[in-house]
C-alpha cells in the first residue's frame, strides 16, 4: 500500500484528498429535487427616458413560492418586435459596455449559453454567461464552478480573461448591472437599493461578505429604440443535464410615450456631520421616484450605495442622516422616476411576495404553468448624473 504523503502539514486543510481508493462501492446519496415548475416569471417592458432620448426598459421578477430567486443559473432571451441594431463590439476594458454581440441584426436580446469553465463562448450574445433572470432584474449572478466560487454574488466585481494573443475578453466575468449600448452622459450603470430608506432601513444585512453592497432595483434598460408590440422573455437552462423546463413571459408595449424628464437634484451637505439633503422636483406622472447616490472616495473607489425614495410629486427635500457619508467623499447622484411600484418589489426579508406588481396598470400577471402574461408597462425616466461633495 502506498504510504500517505505529508505534503505540508500546515496546509492540511488546503490539500484535501478525496475519500477512498480501496474498491469500496458507493451509491449516490438520495436527492430531492425541488418542483421548479412552481416558480413564476414576470416580465414588463416600457420606455426609458434618458434626457429626451427614448430607450427600451425591461423589468423582470423570477421567484420561487418563497419569494427567493427561482434559479441560480439560467439563460434569458427576449424576443423583440423589431431588429436589434446595436453594434456588435466587444468592450475594451473591465466592466465596460457590452454591445449586442451576435444579437445584432436579429429580433433578440439574448444571453450567452454557458460553456465549460474557461472556455470562451463561440457565440457571445448581449447577456454574457454570467447574467440571468433573478428575483428582481437581470443580474450578473449566474452560479459558476470555477473551483473557487460556486455562486457569483450579486453584484460582485470580476476581472477579465486574457486571450493567448494578449487581448482581453469578457468570456467569464461578472458585471455590474449594465445598460447595453453606449449612452452619452450616462455612465453609471448600477443602481442598487441601499440604506437609508424604508425598504432596507439603516443597514444592509450582515452577509459576511464584502461583495454584497445593495439590493437589485429590478430594471435593465437597453440602448435601443423600442417599438410597440409583443415582447417575450424566455428563461431556460440549455445544456443542463437535469431539465427544469423553460419559462416564458409575454407582455406588450402599447405606448411609446415617455415619462417626463427628471431634473437633476441639488444638494446641501451638513459637512463634517456626514449628512445631507437633496432638493428634487418630481414631475407629475411619476408615481415613484428614487435618488440613487453612490459614495465615492477621493480616489474614485465606490464605498457604498444609498437610496432615498419618495412617492410625492413636485418640489421636495429628501434627507439622509448624519454619519451616512464620510466627509470629503464624493456623491454621484441620479434621480430616477417610475410609473410603477419599483421599490416595493425589491426583494427584502426572508419571504418577499412571489409575484409583486411591476407595471403601471396595477394588475397582476396571469400565470398558466410556466408561462405568464403581463399587462401594463414599466416606464422610467433618468436625470443626468450629478456629483457632489460631502
Amino acid at each position: 500500500m502506498i504510504k500517505r504523503i505529508l505534503t505540508v502539514a500546515a496546509l492540511g486543510g488546503l490539500f484535501a484528498l478525496p475519500a477512498c481508493t480501496s474498491n469500496q462501492a458507493g451509491v449516490e446519496p438520495a436527492r430531492t429535487i425541488a418542483p421548479t415548475a412552481q416558480s413564476q416569471l414576470q416580465f414588463q417592458v416600457g420606455t426609458a427616458n434618458y434626457n429626451g432620448t427614448t430607450f427600451l426598459n425591461t423589468v423582470v421578477t423570477f421567484r420561487q413560492p418563497n419569494g427567493l430567486s427561482a434559479l441560480l443559473d439560467n439563460t434569458p432571451s427576449i424576443a423583440i418586435p423589431f431588429t436589434n441594431t446595436a453594434t456588435s463590439v466587444v468592450g475594451a476594458c473591465p466592466n465596460c459596455t457590452i454591445f449586442a454581440g451576435n444579437d445584432t441584426g436579429t429580433n433578440q436580446i439574448s444571453g450567452t449559453v454557458q460553456t465549460a469553465n474557461g472556455v470562451i463562448s463561440p457565440d457571445p450574445r448581449t447577456f454574457p454567461q454570467t447574467v440571468g433572470a433573478f428575483a428582481y432584474g437581470f443580474l450578473a449572478s449566474n452560479s459558476a464552478t470555477t473551483g473557487a466560487n460556486n455562486s457569483t454574488f450579486y453584484p460582485s466585481q470580476g476581472g477579465v480573461v486574457t486571450n493567448p494573443d494578449g487581448s482581453l475578453s469578457p468570456a467569464f466575468q461578472t458585471w455590474r448591472m449594465p445598460i447595453y449600448g453606449t449612452v452619452a452622459g450616462f455612465t453609471q450603470r448600477a443602481f442598487y437599493v441601499g440604506p437609508p430608506n424604508a425598504i432596507v432601513g439603516n443597514s444592509l444585512p450582515v452577509t459576511g461578505s464584502a461583495t454584497f453592497v445593495g439590493y437589485p432595483s429590478g430594471f435593465t434598460p437597453f440602448a435601443i429604440h423600442p417599438t410597440a408590440g409583443a415582447y417575450v422573455l424566455t428563461v431556460g437552462i440549455p445544456n443542463s443535464s437535469t431539465p427544469v423546463g423553460t419559462f416564458t413571459s409575454t407582455t406588450n408595449l402599447t405606448s411609446l410615450a415617455t415619462l417626463p424628464a427628471m431634473p437633476a437634484p441639488t444638494f446641501v451637505s451638513t459637512g463634517l456631520a456626514g449628512g445631507g439633503s437633496f432638493t428634487i422636483t418630481v414631475p407629475a406622472g411619476i408615481t415613484e421616484a428614487a435618488i440613487f447616490f453612490r459614495e465615492l472616495t477621493p480616489a474614485g473607489g465606490i464605498v457604498a450605495y444609498h437610496t432615498l425614495i419618495t412617492h410625492a410629486t413636485g418640489a421636495q427635500v429628501l434627507t439622509y442622516p448624519s454619519g451616512t457619508i464620510t466627509p470629503g467623499d464624493s456623491i454621484s447622484t441620479v434621480l430616477i422616476g417610475f410609473d410603477y411600484p419599483a421599490m416595493e418589489a425589491v426583494p427584502v426579508s426572508a419571504a418577499p411576495p412571489q409575484a409583486p406588481v411591476i407595471n403601471n396598470s396595477g394588475t397582476a400577471c396571469t400565470f398558466s404553468g410556466q408561462s405568464s402574461t403581463c399587462g401594463g408597462q414599466a416606464d422610467i425616466s433618468l436625470s443626468p448624473a450629478v456629483t457632489f461633495t460631502q
Binding site: I2, T7, P29, A34, L68, A116, A135, S141, G147, T162
Partner: protein
Amino acid sequence: MLHRIAHALKRSRRGIIGMALAIAFTASLAAPVLADTTTGNISGTVTAAGQPVPNVNVVAVAPSGRYTATTDSKGFYGIVGVVPDTYNISFSKTGFADSSINGVTVSATITMTVNQALNPRLTTIGSTTSRSSGVSAFQPQQPEDTYSVNANQIQTILGKSHAVSETSLIISLPGATLDSSGYPVLRGGRENDEGFQFEGIDYTDAFTHQFVNSLALNGVANFQLSPGAGDASVGNVGTGQINANVKRGTRPAFGSFEGDMRTPEFDHDFSGEYGWATPNGALSSYSSLQAENSAFTCGRGRTDCNLIGAQIFNNSQVGRDFIENAVYKFGRDKNQSLQLFWQNQNFEFYENAQFANPNSLLYRTSMPDYIGYTRTQLGLPASFVRAVLPLQYGQTTLTDLIRRPAASVTQPNDTLKLQYSNSLNQSTFMTMKFYKVNSTAVFDEPYAGQSCQGVLSGANCDFFTPQGGQRTGIAADFTKQLGTKHLLGFGAKYEFVHPIDGFQSASLGMIAATFNGPTDLFDFFPGQYLPTFLGLPAGVGVRVPDYNQAPVADRHDAGFYISDQFQATDKLKINVGLRLDRSSFSNYPGLRDGAFNDPNGYSSAFYLPISTGLYTSGPLIGTPNPALDVYNPDTRQSNSTLQPRFGMAYQFNPKNSITFSYGRSVELPPIADVDFRIPRAQYAGFAGIPASQADCGPTADRTCRNYADQIYWDNANIIGGVPINPTKVSTFNNYDASLQHDFGNGLSAKVTPFYRRGYDVVALFSSPLFVGGVQQFDTNGNPLTGPSQTSNLGTSYTTGVEFYMTKTAAYGLSGSFSLTYLNEFSNVIPLSGNEDFFPSIPLVSLAQGNLYRVGFVSPFNGVLAVQYKWRNGIRINPIIGFNVGYPIGTGLLTPYAFGGKNFNLPSTNVTNISGSTSATQYVDPANPGTIFAPNIAATRGTAEKNSPGGVLSAPRVNIANLDFEYTKPGSRNTFGLLMSNVFNQVYSQPSFNGRYQPVATGVSGPKSGTQSGNAFFPQLGYTNYAGFRNNNLPYLLTPSGAPTEYRFYYQLSL
C-alpha cells in the same frame, strides 16, 4: 487448576489395548507480558491424583526449537523465551506413564498454560492428540485485548498463502477498520496513531510514524493485533499495536514456491520461502522472497481512463521483498542464540502505466496555470508572469514540455536486527538487540494537467519529496519467573530517530509570494522592486524561488518498563505494569545562528519566543525589543507521563471467562508535527537586498532584516508554519472488558466493549494574527490567521464494541468472524483535509469547544473469512467484508468568526469554513439575508445533519473474494484460483463534488464537472468529466476500483 476432558483415543502401533485416560489438559493463553515480542512462554503444573509431582521432565519440541524443564516441588514448571511454533510437550518420570500433548501453539508475547495429570505406568498406553489449526478467540486468562492469528488463519483470511495484503489482514480482526482513505486504523485512531512492530522492531518511519513495510506481508509466522494500550512493554502507540514475527528455519526443512498471474490486468507474481536447520538445530535459516509486477487498468471495461483525466489510474506497481532470518544457537543446551534478521524491500507505485510510450508522458509544469491565475486576478500581461515563475528541473524556458519519469512513489525499506538471547535457566530469559530501520519513501509528483485535475487534485501536483528516515536502536528485556505466581519483566530501549523530509515545490513558492505575506509578487516583476534594485534590463524579472522544507531535528527516544504477571489463583490472573517514555531533540550548534536577537542571522527559526519585550522609551517605543525576548528552554524535549497498565482475567468455568484492562498510553509527537523548518540557504542570493516589507517573524511584527529574511518568513508563515513547535505527547486512557465463551468443537467467541479517551492530542491550527501586539481582523471583523502551529488541543472520546468468533479445525469448516462498532467524537471537523492523518482544527471551532463524530471511519464493520477443507484436497475459501457506510455531508452548521466573535452559523456558500466549493446550501444572490439567518434559495438536495459527516453513505460489501484450491493428498502441488471483487463493485466511496453548479434544489447546471482549462496549453488543460463521472451530481462516484479479478496460482511445497 483447570481441567478439560479430552475424549479422543488412538490406538498405538503396537496394538496395545487402549485405555481411556482422563487427560488433564489445559491450553490457555495468558496475558502478553513478555517484553521481547518475538517469543512466548510455556508454564504449567504437573499432578498425579490431584497432588503435585516434582522432578518431572518436561520437553517441548518443535521444528524451530527444543526446550526442557523440570517441575519443582510444587509440580510447577516454566519455560520462557520460546520461539513461536506448534510444539509437542512430553512429560516423563519414572513410575509414571509417559504422556505428551501435541499441537500446542505458542504465539509471541503469549504464555501458554499447559497442565498435565500423570498416571501410574501401565502396560497400555494411550495418547491424546490434539491439533490446533489456529489461535482461538477464547483466551480465558489473557487480560489485555489481543487477537492472534497463525499462518493457517492468515491463509483463510486472505484466501491463500503467500498473500501480501497486511491491510486486509488487519481489518479482518476486531478493533481494526478501514478508514475512508483506505488505510487500516485501530479503534478509530488516525493512520499514524497505531504502532507497527516486526520482529520486535518499531516498524514506523522516523518522520510521520507511518508503517515502513508498505503493509506487505512476507514470511509471517504469527500476527497479533492489540487494540488499546497493551501491556507495559508496548510504548509510543496511541490506539494499539500490530505485531508480526517471521518464520524460522526448521528441521526437517520446509519451503514453498508460488507463481501467480492475475487477469484482466497485467500481473505476475513470484514468491518463495525456504527454511532449514542443521541436524543439531544449532543453525537455522529462513529466507523468503516476494516479487510482483503489475499494471492496473481502471474501473470497468468501458471506462475511458484518459477521459476522466486520470492517468493515475493506469498505474503500475513493482515490488520486491526479501527476508532473511538466521539463528545460531550455542552454549549449554543451546540456551543462547544469535539472530540476524534482514529485510530488504522496495515497492514502487507508478501513477502512469510503466510500460506506456514515454513520448506520451509529457509533463508540463504547473506554472502556466499561474499565468492564467495572475492574468485573471491581477490583470497582468503574460510576459510579466513568465519572467518570474520558477522553472522546473529540466526546463530552460517556462513553456518547455519536460519528460520526466512517471509520477511515482518509491517505498524502500532496509532493516537489520542483531539479537542475542540467553535462557539463563528455565525461569530466566533475556534478550538484547540492536537494529536499524532505514526507510524513506520518495514521492515524485511532476505536474501533469490530467492527473492534477483528476481525483487526486491538489495534493498530487508539482512536488518532489523524500519522507521517512532511520531508526537506530538498542533494547534489552529481562523475564524472570518467580515461584509459581509471579512472572516479572523489565526492559529498556533507546532509539536514535533521524527524519528525512526534503519537500520541494515550485507551485508552493508561487503561492507564498501571491498570498498576503511579507513578500509581494509584484516585487519580482520586470521594472519593479527587485529588478530595479539589481539593475536588470527592462523586461527582465527575478524568478520566485521554490518552496523547500527540510526538517532536521533528530530525536532521542527512550523507554523503560516493569511488569508483573501474577497468578493469584488458578482462575484469576492479574497483570500490572508501569512504563515511562521519553524523547528529546538534538541541539545542533549550527542552527543557533539566526536566533532572534542575532544580527547576523536571518530570524528566529529555531526558537519560538514565548514573550516579546517591547521598547519602553525612545523612537522605538512600543516595538519589539529582541534583546528582551525569552525563549522556551524546553522546546526540544517531550517528557512523558508515567503509564500504568493493569489487566485481570478471571475464568469462572472451563468455558467462560471475563477480563478487564486499563492502560494509559502516550504517543510521542511525530517529528513531522514538531519541525517545519525551511532551509535558509536557498534564499542566500537575496541576503544583500534590502527588505521591502516590515512584517517578519512568526508574529509578522518584526522588521525584516533583508530580502532573504522577508522571503523566508513569507514561506514559513504562509505554508510551513511556525518552524519549531514545542509539542507534548498525546495521552490516551484505554479501558476494555471482555466476555469469552468456548462453545466446544473449536468454536469460540469473545465480545469486548471498550472506551478510549484521548487528550493533548496533537493537531494543527492557524493561530490568530497579531501585529505589534494587536490582533488583526478583516473588514468583516473576522480574525486574520497567522502561521500554522502544532498544538495539543486535540481531544477524542471513543466507545465501541469488538466481537470475534473463531472456528478452528484442520478439516471441515474453519474461519473467523469479526465485527467492530465505533462511536468516536473529536474536535477535528469531520471530512476536513487530513482529518485522519495530520489534522487541522480551525481556531473558531476550537474556541467554541465543538465536538463532532469523526468522519473517516464507518461506525460498523465486519469481516467473515471461512474455509471448508475436504480431506480429498479441495479447499473453498470465501471472504466477505462489509460496512454500514462512511460519513458524508458538509453539515448544516459551520464554525464562523465574525466581528471578533465565534459562532456556529448556518453553512452556506458564504459562511462554509472550507469555502463555497464545499457548500450544500446557497443563498439568494439578490436577497442573501444575513449570515445568522440566510435566505437559502437552493440546496444540493441531499440529506444533511447539523454536523459535517452526519449522514452515512449507503452500506456496502467492500470485500467479496472467493478462493478455490486443490492439493492432491500426498502431493506437493497446489493449484488455485482466487477471485477478488466478485460483485465487480468498482465505484469509490461517494466524495463531495467540488465542481457542482447549483441551479435549484437538487438540480445542477451545465458547468458542473468541468475544470478550468488553461489558456497556455488549451489542448491539455480542459477536462470534462460530466459524461463519465456523473459530475452533475452532488457526490462523485469514480470508477477507480479494480474490477473482478482472477488470480491463478501454482504452489510447490518442499
